[in-house]
């Protein structure tokens, strides 16, 4: 790998303070540090550090998303790849522009946002909408707040919310029937014009009309829906990995699923006509995706453990209520955004309690 080292060394001068491309230094640094672990040494105690860095932290999320990406390729075809590429390209461009203007490092956060975003969109959504959505999400959801670590809302959800409000028709249609058989749609590029592929609605839409998709179809993902949300199996596998690595906090996930289940069971018992079966609702829609991959975003969610429980209960409960009592068929997005709004205040309550206890202890 000496030649690669040499290549970086030979162009390094261009990006130094007086070099021709000094403005692009963040790009050079990011590329170099992508290939080679940084040379930085500790300066003072502690003199040794844990091997975990933000790159690895984010890479772990991407690994956890892998089952779900593979499942979506199988069910919805190669167009998913195109959506991911567009999302990465546009989201990455926004991130790079801001890094260059701010003269800060390029942050790895967009690697996760850029992958999560296409996974929560309808699979036949026009590619330009994917680009517009991610640009809005990264720009307004993250960069305007000061970049990764300072955002109030989950950027991917901000982007999706923007599309849902700006292009409601496109976001409510553009579903694709899942592929089947050995290869599924792995060899196809199914889009809105593909005759046999277009589907009119998702299981949650049908459920409003009293038609429930089979549980095994929901579990394996053999239903129409947003790109990455259909296969409960893939989501559980990735989610379990995420919880095992402790990148996502189990409290949030458990609280969401528990509050959803408990509230759902109670309301189902009280009004069986209005509320669908809980087990079915757990697997349908984007509840699992939201619980494992979006609500657990450490930046936009609460940090203290008691607040995580409260946040999860709020998100789970609100999702259930939106799904069953409002005109919307799915409520995960709004529930998590609402949770993001509540997160700082939940944390503040916990912090105040702790401060009081601390003062009491002396």
């Amino acid at each position: 790998m000496r030649w690669l080292h040499g290549m970086f060394d030979s162009v390094r001068g261009l990006f130094e303070e007086k070099g021709k491309l000094a403005r692009m230094k963040p790009v050079f640094e990011a590329t170099e540090n992508f290939f080679f672990g940084p040379a930085t040494r500790t300066d003072g105690a502690p003199h040794v550090r844990d091997p975990l860095d933000v790159k690895r932290f984010m890479a772990t999320v991407i690994v956890a998303l892998a089952p779900c990406v593979l499942a979506s390729l199988y069910f919805f075809g190669l167009r998913v790849l195109a959506m991911i590429l567009v999302s990465y390209a546009v989201g990455g461009a926004v991130e790079v522009i801001f890094a260059v203007v701010r003269k800060e490092e390029i942050n790895e956060g967009f690697l996760v946002t850029g992958l999560i975003f296409p996974l929560v969109l309808p699979p036949a959504l026009p590619l330009w909408m994917v680009g517009v959505g991610i640009a809005f999400g990264v720009l307004v959801g993250k960069e305007l707040f000061g970049g990764t670590g300072r955002n109030l809302f989950n950027p991917a959800l901000v982007g999706r919310c923007f599309l849902a409000i700006g292009y409601p028709a496109a976001m409510a249609a553009n579903w694709i029937k899942p592929g089947g058989g050995l290869l599924g749609r792995l060899t196809e590029y199914a889009h809105a014009g593909t005759v046999d592929a277009v589907s009119s609605a998702t299981p949650l839409v049908f459920a409003k009309q009293g038609e429930f998709a089979g549980l095994s179809d929901l579990f394996f993902g053999n239903v129409s829906g947003s790109v990455g949300e259909t296969s409960a199996l893939a989501l559980l596998a990735g989610g379990a990995f995420l919880l095992y690595t402790r990148v996502a906090n189990w409290r949030t996930v458990v609280a969401i699923l528990a509050s959803f289940t408990v509230l759902g069971a109670l309301l189902r018992a009280a009004a069986p006509d209005t509320f669908g079966p809980v087990g079915w609702h757990l697997l349908a829609g984007s509840l699992l995706f939201g619980a494992f991959f979006m609500a657990t975003d450490p930046v936009s969610g609460p940090v203290t453990n008691p607040a995580k429980w409260a946040f999860g209960i709020l998100v789970g409960g609100v999702t259930l209520l939106i799904r069953n009592l409002t005109g919307y068929v799915e409520g995960v997005m709004f529930a998590i955004l609402l949770g993001n709004i509540a997160a700082p205040i939940l944390d503040e309550v916990v912090v105040r309690y702790r401060v009081r206890r601390m003062q009491h202890e002396g």
């Binding site: 670590g149 940090v303 203290t304 912090v351």
Partner: protein, 459 residues
């Protein structure tokens, strides 16, 4: 006692139980500074012949703690800057303590307890005492509310209590008795590991008869052995009836030596460990012992960082420091980071020991990774992963304090307990964003200390 946080890292080069005696030095270079003290007041003249135990210099800001000559020799003041050099070193029998009259820097008309305490100060035993919360030197003539004697030093690597007192258990317990004689009714807490090691059992058996000594067992997790964490766990208030004194095994031995034998404590047991140490072990050494003789010959590799203290809290020994300082309890040697690994963040990481479980190593048992001074990542904004709160033995929220300090919200940071930080360094160690939390908190503590009204400090 309830415990929170704490974390052990496995660092290669754990000093063995062996205690090596270093050869007699030809020259001693005693640094005039150590981590707490600044011996500004020089008490000897150029060319003066000193006897062992004679005060070479004093720190007038800290109750005139003396820097004692470990051996007889001739003073050279100009030979090395910031050091007192002793040449023509020879071993002379140490002369028993004779108090000079009148006693300098001490309250008038002292009772016998006061005189004993003065003796501790003059014989170099007092510098082993610290305020459990602030870590500073307590007033030798003050009245503590409790005393904590800890046999644990869990930071990798410091001289371990069990190694120090294994062969001197009788002296250790006698030291505790002396300590008790300095107090009225205040309790002495003796901190032991909460495991059934043979050593702990022996100490328990020996101490059983003493009603005034209470045994405290704590888990063997670094961070929990900090005196402030123990004091807080015992419910001893920071601003209670008096300061809480803390001392380690070496301190109890020094008390015994001073009050039983009336001899100064100059030679101490120092650990020499770390991944770059060729033969990690304990050494009997004295302040001023040339570092080059202690370390260079044992250094495994050329580019090595020498740390006075452990890897979490120690400080790099500056080039200009030539001899062992008066407070050093251990030297840790680390290889400087040099190699850059290709696609390092993508590697499975079977060989990387991490607090998180983001590496394949999570599936294997504990092992020792060869650590260097690498930062192992790039500095980023906090992603609120919460690891720092999990490991914090002080039960504070480092990420939150960091966020306030980032906006210069010092008052907010104080409100949520930045002054409770133990400076253990665990938060900085686990932080994936590589934020220098420990350094920021120390700066904030010092700033808040300066701003505190003078009368509060006096009380």
């Amino acid at each position: 006692m309830r415990f929170h946080g704490g974390c052990n890292i496995r660092l290669a080069g754990r000093p063995s139980d062996l205690v090596d005696v270093l050869p007699e030095p030809e020259v001693l270079r005693l640094p005039l500074q150590s981590c707490r003290f600044d011996f500004k007041e020089i008490c000897v003249k150029e060319g003066e012949e000193v006897h062992p135990g004679q005060a070479l210099a004093k720190d007038l800001d800290h109750f005139a703690v003396p820097l004692l000559a470990p051996r007889a020799g001739t003073v050279r003041l100009e030979e090395a800057e910031g050091h007192i050099t002793l040449v023509d070193i020879h071993k002379e029998p140490e002369e028993p303590y004779r108090p000079e009259e009148p006693l300098e820097h001490a309250p008038r008309d002292m009772d016998s307890v006061g005189k004993k305490r003065y003796k501790l100060l003059a014989l170099g035993a007092w510098q082993f005492f610290r305020d459990a919360y602030s870590g500073r030197l307590p007033n030798p003539f003050g009245v503590p509310s409790a005393v904590i004697v800890s046999t644990l030093a869990l930071e990798p690597f410091l001289a371990r209590g069990d190694v120090q007192i294994r062969k001197r258990l009788a002296s250790f317990t006698r030291g505790l008795e002396h300590l008790q004689s300095l107090l009225e009714y205040q309790p002495i807490y003796l901190v032991l590991p909460d495991i059934g090691s043979g050593f702990a059992q022996r100490v328990r058996d020996t101490i059983r008869g003493y009603a005034w000594a209470q045994l405290v067992g704590i888990p063997l997790r670094y961070g929990l052995d900090h005196s402030a964490a123990i004091a807080r766990g015992l419910g001893l208030k920071r601003n209670g009836e008096g300061p809480v004194w803390a001392l380690d095994a070496a301190g109890a031995l020094a008390v015994d030596r001073a009050l039983t034998l009336s001899l100064p404590s100059t030679v101490r047991i120092v650990s020499l460990g770390g991944p770059a140490a060729e033969k990690p072990r304990h050494l009997k050494a004295m302040p001023g012992y040339p570092l080059s003789d202690m370390v260079e010959t044992r250094k495994a590799e050329s580019s090595t960082r020498i740390i006075a203290g452990g890897v979490f809290t120690g400080s790099e020994v500056p080039e200009s420091q030539l001899g062992l300082d008066a407070e050093c309890a251990g030297l840790t040697l680390l290889r400087e980071h040099e190699e850059r690994e290709l696609l390092s963040f993508m590697r499975p990481g079977f060989d990387r020991a991490s607090y998180s479980r983001c590496f394949l190593s999570a599936v294997r048992g504990a092992f020792i990774e060869n650590l260097t001074t690498a930062l192992r990542g790039e500095r980023r904004a906090c992603v609120s992963c919460g690891y720092c709160e999990e490991v914090c033995p002080a039960r504070i929220m480092p990420y939150l304090i960091h966020k306030h300090l980032y906006q210069e919200g010092y008052e907010e940071a104080e409100r949520i307990g930045v002054d409770r930080c133990l400076r253990c360094g665990l938060c900085s160690y686990v932080c994936p964003s590589k934020i220098e939390l420990r350094g920021q908190f120390i700066d904030a503590q010092e700033l808040l200390e300066q701003e505190r009204p003078a009368e509060e400090v006096a009380s």
